[in-house]
Amino acid sequence: MKKIEAIIRTSKFEEIYTCVSGLGVKFLTFYEVKGMGMEHARQQTYRGVAYEPTYIPRTKLEIVTVEELVEPVIDCILKMGKTGEVGDGKIFIYEALEAYRIRNSDTGEIAL
């Protein structure tokens, strides 16, 4: 069982979601995060003072899934999340030891 974490462009979420759900990934969790990286935020001006928000708003995606689906999911994200511009983000893979479905206490892969 693996956990896939991806930091993506918020604007790319829709496409990526459609793609992974196409693979049969019915569940995922995402939330807004702030990123520091190569890309720089658009400059803003207020009363004559220019400033640049230090971070870039991004979306973080979390999918815990079975081994077989890890590759395909990664491909989805790489394909759909790509613009080629600095700022596209990253994917990280982690080991997940166990999963439980709260509704009925299922555990193991059927809980995913």
């Binding site: 918020t10 604007s11 807004e32 658009r42 400059q43 803003q44 001006t45 207020y46």
Partner: protein, 410 residues
């Protein structure tokens, strides 16, 4: 006529002027409230600069275009000069028993900007700032006063055997704005993601309290808009106008409430707010002609119409974020017609005159606003590019945010 009555009349006209002024804040709040947070600075910017444009262009040329004087009676266009020149006895009732020249000017000037403000709502969230300001200058400075002259300036609509009647501007003000709103919204096309293959998407307004504040302020100002159009403080007429205005707004709320509940099975406050405005726009043309019952009917129908109009324009994919076309154009046409159907002037003849007025004003406004918007569209462009629209106009056109301290939901 005596100095006392003159002073009272003039006082009321000045108070009415301030009430019309605050309507611009009403429009600003309503339009900001019914659009998205990422475009709020932009819509507020437009609604702040428009009254300024209205006042200045009206002083420069508008007033002279709208009231060119008797030499142009019955004609299509006239010009009394450039800028403001004080006539003999401008501050006495020799000028007019209801107001001084300056009161006359400033009351009319406050009206002027309204036309453009109406448009700004319909083109919100996608129009380029520069071109819109340019449009506003031309439309408020030239188109509006020309139309106004036709009726209020003693032009041809006023000198028909059965004169076209428009007490406070259902057509002369609201439809004038409404037609340009229609043209603008059409030429711009809908906001990204509004109408997709998978059907129509809702794009909820970001701040319902602001929208509510806006409508209350508009209603508040409407007492000056209609009440001031009496042009004197005559107790009977002004109080009658107050009553019809209040009743029409109230029944407009119920018209929209009932219609939207039956149609959508939900209590949609934005529809009730639009309904109030439609009731007010509807009564505007005949506020001095109706009784309480007639005002209630006109308002109720106006409020009902707006619900169907909003749905209709969505169906034909004309994207009007705030319902400006439904409220001001449809409401304005309805109100103008109502003068022929109800109240002191009701009659087939009058209906005809009203239809003529609606038609010529419509034709002229449609044509001129099309001309302005279309020529800009083909040259400098009138719509922000896709990325700017997605990110929001605030950050792109103003490099600013309306709510920098609040986390946004998406």
């Amino acid at each position: 006529m005596n100095q006392e009555i003159f002073t009272i009349n003039n006082l009321w006209m000045m108070v009415a002027t301030i009430l019309v002024f605050i309507m611009h804040l009403g429009f600003a709040s309503l339009e900001a409230g019914l659009t998205r947070a990422k475009n709020t600075v932009n819509i507020l910017f437009k609604n702040t600069i428009i009254p300024a444009i209205g006042l200045l262009t009206y002083a420069f040329i508008g007033f002279n275009l709208m009231y060119p004087g008797d030499d142009f009676a019955g004609s299509f266009i006239g010009l009394a000069g450039i800028g403001i020149t004080l006539p003999e006895g401008w501050d006495t009732f020799a000028y007019n028993e209801g107001y001084t020249f300056f009161t006359d000017f400033i009351f009319q000037a406050m009206f002027a900007a309204t036309a453009a403000t109406i448009v700004s709502g319909a083109v919100a969230e996608r129009v380029k700032l520069g071109p819109f300001i340019f449009f506003s200058i031309l439309y408020v400075g030239i188109c509006y006063p020309i139309v106004g002259m036709w009726k209020w300036g003693g032009g041809f609509l006023d000198s028909m055997d059965i004169p076209f009647y428009d007490f406070a501007g259902s057509t002369i003000v609201h439809s004038v704005g409404g037609w340009a709103a229609l043209v603008g919204a059409f030429l711009l096309g809908p906001r990204l993601g509004k109408y997709t293959e998978s059907g129509m998407k809702a794009i909820p307004g970001h701040n319902i309290p602001m929208a509510t504040i806006g409508v209350f302020l508009l209603w508040f100002g409407w007492f000056g808009f209609n009440g001031g159009s009496v042009l004197t403080a005559d107790p009977g007429t002004v109080s009658r106008v107050f009553v019809t205005t209040a009743i029409a707004g109230a029944s407009g709320a119920f018209g929209a409430l009932i219609a939207s509940y039956l149609k959508f099975k939900t209590y949609d406050i934005t529809m009730v707010l639009n309904g109030i405005l439609a009731g007010l726009v509807g009564i505007t043309a005949g506020a001095d002609l109706m009784g309480v019952g007639e005002a209630a009917i006109i308002g109720f129908i106006g409020g009902t119409l707006v619900v169907f109009a909003v749905v209709f324009f969505d169906r034909i994919k004309i994207d009007d974020p705030v319902g400006a076309i439904s409220v001001h154009l449809i409401g304005g046409i309805w109100g103008t017609l109502a003068v022929g159907l109800f109240g002191d002037l009701a009659g087939m003849q009058q209906v005809l005159s009203q239809l003529i007025g609606i038609a010529v004003v419509g034709a002229f406004c449609f044509a001129t606003s099309w001309l302005i918007f279309f020529s800009m569209k083909k040259t400098i462009g009138i719509r922000v590019d896709e990325r700017e629209e997605l990110e929001g106009l605030d950050i792109n056109e103003h490099s600013m945010q309306a709510y920098p301290d609040f986390a946004s939901k998406n």
